[in-house]
Symmetry: C2
Subunit: 526 residues, 2 copies
DNA sequence: CGTGTGTTTATAAACAATGTC
DNA sequence: GCGACATTGTTTATAAACACA
């Protein structure tokens, strides 16, 4: 029995095979200082918490506490103190801390507004609540990274993990001047410009490969336009403008990859202008999470584990559902679940859908920026089939409840228990081998059960523990975002998060804060 | 304006990048004879037709004639005579000839029978009506190939085109002895066994790479089982058994490709055994055209163009619709059609759907074996959405009628003509930017219009010329097959075909014999 | 005929989950 | 149980073949 492999976070993204291109280890320039003794864990071990810090227990996770920090507080001190507190308490006490700023940080309405500037992505990188986080990052970055391995030019894991944050840091402090006069002089299967890399450090950093996939960058590009459509050439240009790596460093084949991604992913669809002369690319609205570069970035900073505190700064955007039944506790690991398609996992856990109740589909707030998946492809036709309930939500591989590990489908409908392994006859009504009537949760009529997990193979066990919403159209979201940090003293990780209190799709086994409606238990965030 | 690129025939398949593997040009062994003078075009230029040959005009194509040939006739002579006839008549006269055997050849019911042998594919390669064609091929093959380039080891285009037929020839004369005791000793990213190639010519030929894609081979494998399901390992074994190239020659990475294809293509779905211990792969029934190795193969023989007759032998399986309104004439080339997704093209033209009216879904006859596409992926949700007519059949790129090249959508519904380029608001009913109410053709209630081409961009022109069937489920097919050849004297090509008189999906600009119900105008085939 | 655009397949690889020893 | 390793599954990147405007 296998579960579907968990989708890797973009933070842990695979090393991109494109040339690291002999950049002289540009990641190293900020860590010039050799080991000094700035480890917050040691020096702040018995430190008292600054004034105004409020600590409350997590509503459902016993090992987690929520820490509300005033703006005036020294985050480094707080982190150090919480780290010490967590370590002192050991495994019995709280070892995960969700750090939230007291001011609420409710500027999230600016995401993906339908009437936004035609080009607004790159200039707003630091316009969100990420300013504070960048302060954290800067301070961390300025700290001496002790125990760091000798800089390896081949992009080792440490370099790789450092790349993202530095790439982000440069992105947030630099402006881009586009160079549209540049032409592509080479064939796509030829080699890169083979530039000399005596450019300035900033330019050099800009020429580092961004940590985003082609699919993500295409979404950034298209969503940067108010019209949400771009020609291929415009996509090229947008990417070259915002990620100079592709203009300056990458082999010409990256354009081939862009075209490949446009064709491959069903979320990208091609339209034709009224006169039929121009074809341009859009994103399926039902699949568009309106990712833009300014809201979607992630950083990882892994400091030396040898210095007793490995500080890992992630950023994620976590959505908390409102107006929906709060799901029952998410099992950290469902025992003996058959390996599912990752797409199915994400369709509920990690891939919340925008709320199409909004008249402007693009006013929804992007949720879960940990990946940039093609949710249309993943969810397939299930988005469209509320009107044919007996054929919706058929999935490839069943999901079993954790309470039925290897048993023979105890809670399945009896009509489906029979004749396992048989080919399902293709009748008029039911069309798929694995398509059986879904088990509907008692959701109200307005909130039709979604059943993303409710159709199983005849031999599977219904997964009744999940809250099931019939369709994203039935949900509403407010688009409120909160900035937060998660400090896990068990593995000495510090994760930067954005909490979307609109709705949530967290399937993170590291800290089970999914489905928390912050606005309900933290008054100052209401 | 661009049409979607026509899907390449598998006959013209791209060169497979896998190692041609230093095989000593095994293609050459049959063409040992140097140029003799066997060109039928010259010698048979004024040849009289043998007795019993009946020539009739094609019902719709003025440049095409249908030639019914008795079994006793010498096909070579007939081809030569027809070639000469076509050339003599020039472009005014008929230059395409559809050659059919007079005996009807109605053995098509054996395709894809639900109760077929568990393993029946490889032993029936010559069991169809292909026997005669193989005779042709053999005779052609035995002919000296004059003007052939010196054998190039690197797999030039001529070698490549010759490979298919020879591969087929060996397949049809050899039996396979599986060697299941063989293990995979290498990592997948390592190099092939680096065998010595002193094996016999037959084995050597068997070690040539088959001309089928991974997707096709997986379909062959899974469909060879009565249960229509296989574990990954079984798929490996089936392929190694039937295509020894992968067992003996290919790099271990081919298994990675198999897994990649299984995951990538939505037509392959993974199920789990009742106890959840085993997962196995199936084909979505609605996407399964039941391709098996014995029914699906194609050969191409390109003889020397220098010898005045380039004989190209293809085999295709062409389906002719019955019980459906005969579509209006297929335009050979629709002027100014916007480039469509190939999937959309094939969904009507080249990708006929099996008739799910059959109680056994797998009793349908595979149609159009020129490719082995993932029709589920291509058709997406459209198969399932007969119950929500206002949102079905939305396509990415519109199709315009040939009569409206650059005009501003004259025949569109007026509600859709307005506000081009605007983002479609995502209302409750309509979900997609390009999703407008389809224009329904006046198909009968039993044969609901299929509308594969009837949803367009608001700026497009409805493509009313196409016959539109609501769903494959509404169609019925008899599974009758006829063997035929198509001789095109304009380009000196001879195409071997199988005509499925059940229904058709031919979008071949080379000879417009789509939608011909042979049983209606050739009495001996009724 | 060359270029740009679009589609598809092949191949390698990163990575995750799980099974096996 | 644990760790090393193999198997299975998913996803992304890259190259390329090919079609076609
Ligand atoms: Mg696409
Ligand atoms: Mg699949």
């Amino acid at each position: 029995m296998r579960r579907s492999p968990r989708r890797p976070l973009i933070l842990k993204r695979r090393k991109l095979p494109f040339q690291q291109n002999d950049l002289p280890a540009a990641e190293s320039q900020n860590q010039s200082g050799p080991p000094a003794s700035k480890e917050p864990s040691k020096s702040a071990s018995s430190q008292c918490f600054p004034d105004g810090i409020r600590i409350m227990d997590h509503p459902s996770k016993s090992d987690t506490q929520v820490v509300v920090i005033p703006k005036t507080a020294d985050l480094q001190s707080v982190i150090g103190a919480l780290t010490a507190k967590g370590k002192e308490c050991g495994e019995q006490g709280p070892n995960k801390f969700i750090l939230l700023s007291g001011n609420g940080s409710r500027d999230s309405g600016g995401f993906c507004q339908p009437a936004a500037q035609e080009e607004h992505a790159s200039t707003q990188i630091a316009a969100l609540q990420t300013v504070k986080a960048e302060t954290i990052l800067d301070s961390l970055d300025a700290k001496p990274l002790t125990g760091i391995k000798p800089l390896n030019k081949d992009g080792g894991p440490l370099d790789d993990s450092l790349t993202n944050i530095q790439w982000l840091g440069k992105m947030s402090t630099c402006t881009f001047e586009a160079d549209p006069s540049k032409q592509m002089p080479l064939k796509e299967n030829q080699n890169p410009p083979a530039q000399t890399f005596q450019v300035s450090s900033v330019q050099q950093a800009m020429a580092e490969r961004p940590p985003y996939s082609y699919m993500a960058m295409i979404q950034f590009a298209i969503n940067s336009r108010k019209s949400r459509r771009m020609t291929l050439k415009e996509i090229y240009m947008w990417i070259e403008e915002h990620f100079p790596y592709y203009r300056d460093v990458a082999k010409p084949g990256w354009k081939n990859s862009i075209r490949h991604n446009l064709s491959l992913h069903k979320m990208f669809i091609r339209e034709t202008s009224p006169d039929g002369k121009v074809s341009f690319w859009t994103i399926r609205p039902e699949a568009n999470r309106c990712l833009t570069l300014d809201q979607v970035y992630k950083v990882t900073l892994v400091m030396s584990p040898l210095k007793n505190l490995k500080v890992e700064v992630k950023e994620e955007q976590i959505c908390v559902p409102i107006k929906c039944e709060t799901p029952k506790s998410t099992p950290k690991r469902q025992a003996s679940c058959s390996r599912r398609k990752q797409c199915l996992v994400r369709s509920l856990h990690e891939e919340p859908i925008l709320c199409p109740d909004n008249t402007f589909f693009d006013s929804g707030v992007a949720s879960d920026v940990s990946t940039f998946q093609d949710i249309y492809t993943e969810l397939d036709e299930h988005h469209y089939r509320q009107d044919s309930p007996d054929r919706e939500f058929s999935f490839k591989t069943p999901i079993k409840s954790s309470s039925h590990i290897s048993s023979s489908t105890p809670s399945k409908p009896p009509s489906n228990v029979l004749e396992p392994w048989k080919v399902t006859p293709v009748g008029k009504g039911s069309q798929s081998v694995l398509d059986f009537s879904p088990i509907r949760t008692p959701g109200g009529p307005a909130v039709t059960p979604r059943h993303d997990y409710t159709t199983f193979s005849f031999n599977s066990t219904p997964f009744k523990d999940w809250p099931l919403f019939s369709s994203p159209r039935e949900l509403s979201c407010s688009g409120e975002l909160l900035q937060g940090l998660v400090l896990d003293t068990m593995n000495d990780s510090l994760s930067k998060i954005l909490v979307d209190i609109s709705f949530s799709a967290l399937d993170d086994e590291d800290f089970g804060m999914a489905n928390i409606s912050w606005s309900e238990f933290i008054p100052q965030f209401k």
